[in-house]
């Protein structure tokens, strides 16, 4: 093949340009610390990393949801523990009062204490987390429990004589948090209906009647019956507390798993998106050497012509 100087020049220039291009690319990678500087640099990696990013984003959101759910559960748990101690204290008082040795005056004193406990119960049942009532179902902005004329109202419904269907429907107002992909949700709240029970045997009603009985100086065996009812209530309450505890444990486990997942996914993301500086630097040095070699070779080939030797 006949070779002319312009051919050599063209080849030299186009190769020099290629070398400069790779220097430029490596330089961009190194200074931006991004392996994928432009999305077409690695379409397959891009697809993976976009999916991983979505996943990390989801996990971060679910972790936040779990934190929030935990707050609700802890608040509910604390309030239920408080209610439990109210029941315990009332139970002890009833046992003491049911003995025949107690004088009517002392029973009056116990009655006053029960009345205090009864009011305390309403207070605790109206407990709040971040200004939201935790036992009100979807009613988070107004006090769910209200006593009017000695009758306990929950979300405006009479807890004793209210429509049983309406009361039952209140249980559907579950405050749920999405905690995993696929729309998996966890119910974190206990409604007032579940908390205190409905009908004659709601906790407030029991304490109210106990108070009346003590005031009326009822016989010991009648009082002792209240102790049994209270025990029953207590076991219900403990059941709910352990339920809340179990949910907290599940949330914590999920939270830990999410932390591991985040670590793993971040690692994958970093592998695809981030630059291995040492490797890029090595490559850069290599490209630089090639570039300089091509410059010096070009300078030697292009310079001389036949004229130089005549």
């Amino acid at each position: 093949m006949r070779i002319t100087s312009s051919m050599i020049m063209n080849t030299f220039l186009s190769n020099l340009n290629n070398n400069l291009n790779s220097l430029d690319r490596l330089q961009a990678q190194s200074s931006s610390n991004r392996r994928i500087v432009k999305i077409s640099d690695d379409p397959v990696g891009l697809l993976t990393t976009l999916q991983v990013r979505d996943r990390i984003n989801d996990i971060e959101q679910y972790s936040r949801n779990i934190d929030e759910a935990n707050l609700w559960l802890r608040q509910a748990e604390n309030s239920m523990m408080e209610i439990n101690s109210i029941i315990t204290s009332c139970y002890e008082d009833v046992l003491r009062a049911s003995t025949s040795t107690m004088s009517p005056t002392d029973r009056q004193a116990v009655a006053a204490k029960i009345a205090q406990m009864r009011d305390q119960l309403v207070n605790v049942s109206n407990s709040r987390m971040n200004n939201k009532y935790v036992f009100g179902g979807f009613n988070t902005v107004n006090e769910p429990f209200e006593v009017s004329g000695g009758v306990l109202y929950y979300n405006g419904i009479d807890m004793v004589n209210g429509d049983p269907v309406a009361l039952e429907a209140q249980k559907d107002q579950k405050m749920e948090f999405e905690i995993a992909s696929g729309g998996l949700k966890m119910n974190v709240a206990f409604t007032g209906v579940e908390l205190l029970g409905t009908g004659e045997d709601n906790l407030y009603g029991i304490l109210d009647r106990l108070y009346d009985a003590l005031e009326a100086d009822a016989p010991g065996n009648e009082l002792a019956a209240y102790a049994d009812v209270l025990l029953e209530k207590q076991s219900e309450m403990l059941g709910m507390i352990s339920d809340a505890g179990a949910r907290c444990v599940r949330l914590d486990m999920l939270r830990t798993r999410y932390e591991d997942d985040t670590l793993n996914y971040t690692k994958i993301q970093s592998q695809i998106e981030d630059v291995d500086q040492a490797e890029v630097y090595m490559n850069y040095k290599m490209a630089e050497a090639v570039y300089q070699a091509s410059l010096s070779a070009g300078a030697r080939i292009i310079q001389p012509t036949l004229l130089d030797f005549l």
Partner: protein, 497 residues
Amino acid sequence: MSSTFYGFEVARTGLVASQYALNVTGHNISNADTVGYTRQRLLTTSKVPAVGFTQFALSECATVGGGVSVDAVNQIRDEFLDRQFRKENADACYLDKLTAGLTDIETMFDELSSMSISKTLSEFFNSFQDLANNPTDYEVRAEVQSKAMQLTSTLNYYHGKLSDQQTVYDLSVDTLTGKVNEIAESIAHLNKTIEEYEITGETANDLRDQRNLLLDQLSGIVDITYYHTPSGQLYVQLGGRDLVSHTTLGALATAQTGYNPLTGLNELNEVVWASDSAAVTITSGSLKGTLQLRDGNTKDEYGIPYLVDSLNTLVNALADEINAVHSQGWTLPCDENGGASITGVNFFDDFGGAVPVTAGNFKLDDAILLTPNNIAASDTEITAANHQEGNNLNAHAILAVINSSSLSGINNFQGYMTTIVSTLAIRVSYSKNMSEMQKVMLSNKEASRISISGVSIDEEVANMLRYQHAYNAAARVITTMDEALDMLINRMGIVGR
């Protein structure tokens, strides 16, 4: 018997030929770097003996040839390589234009940066999760509103940028069409000049170089074919019709009748034949690249309309699916609604169905813009008797749509966005690779062409020495003959003088 001075004449032709050859060499060296220059060569033949037709040979010496005759100055050029080069050049310019355009778009779609559509989409969806967690908090609602506004304005921004870019390509179509006309006209003009010049029998080497260069340039813009008639006239064709028929120009024009998928109007520059407004078939070249960027709306013919169409699909799905659920829910009571909870509120503005929702006009419904309390998180009316401010069931229903993988047309919002981005990435990367390959191919053809037609300084210098020596030798022949005649005329027959 030949003439006494016959030898002078023979040597003189040698002197003339060498001088002529030196001139040609000088021309070559002067044009060593002229674009489109084809090296020239002096064609010489030896002269037959000057005897004419006689029945008998006059003498033996009469068969000596008459020296050298200068016939022509020739170009060394391979027509076949020219054709190949021009064909590859059209494809190379098409891919180059396409790649440059797609790279511009790609730079815009930096989905790995912090301000990408994917990112704003995720943040918008996250804000709905927070809403489900805290349906009563005004701050959380305001966050949903602001993230949604961020999403709509980001999509508006991309739509705006893409349609600006499309307008640039549309102007470029007009410019390139003008350029085709300009070059074609120059070719027609040159055809005329060359014909006039060559009527004498000479070859218009340098004019032909100019014409070849113009053909090279033209082949980069549109995919031309061309042929020479037996009488040497050049015809250039585009899409089967004559662009240049010898000295006549078949001009192109642009008509503002092309359908624009972005606006739905017939407003784009359409390339037509000026004479009868028939559409021009263009299949390669930078004009084709520009047309594809402007009009391409399929996966194979990837262009701005395809990308905008994908974004519109996403936006429509967002508006349709989220509105369908959102309008079922109930808002938080607020002063703007006279303290009442209302239902049937759209989240995104659907313009009452009067105009299609696009990435360009995508916005929140006026009710949502009015107050974030109008975001319907509850599935039940909130009244004084039924305090369900904390009801988040509709927010969960919206989340179910967001998480769904079976939405009609797009399957999943984020998944679809990822598809849009990765399709773009694949197209750009494919186009880049193809363009690189085509450039290698083109430079190969260019190298073969230069190999034959290009000026080599070394070769010319070597030739220069050769011609110099030939000239010197011819001069020496004359000197020698002169001496011989001097001997004959002046010094013969003077014995004893």
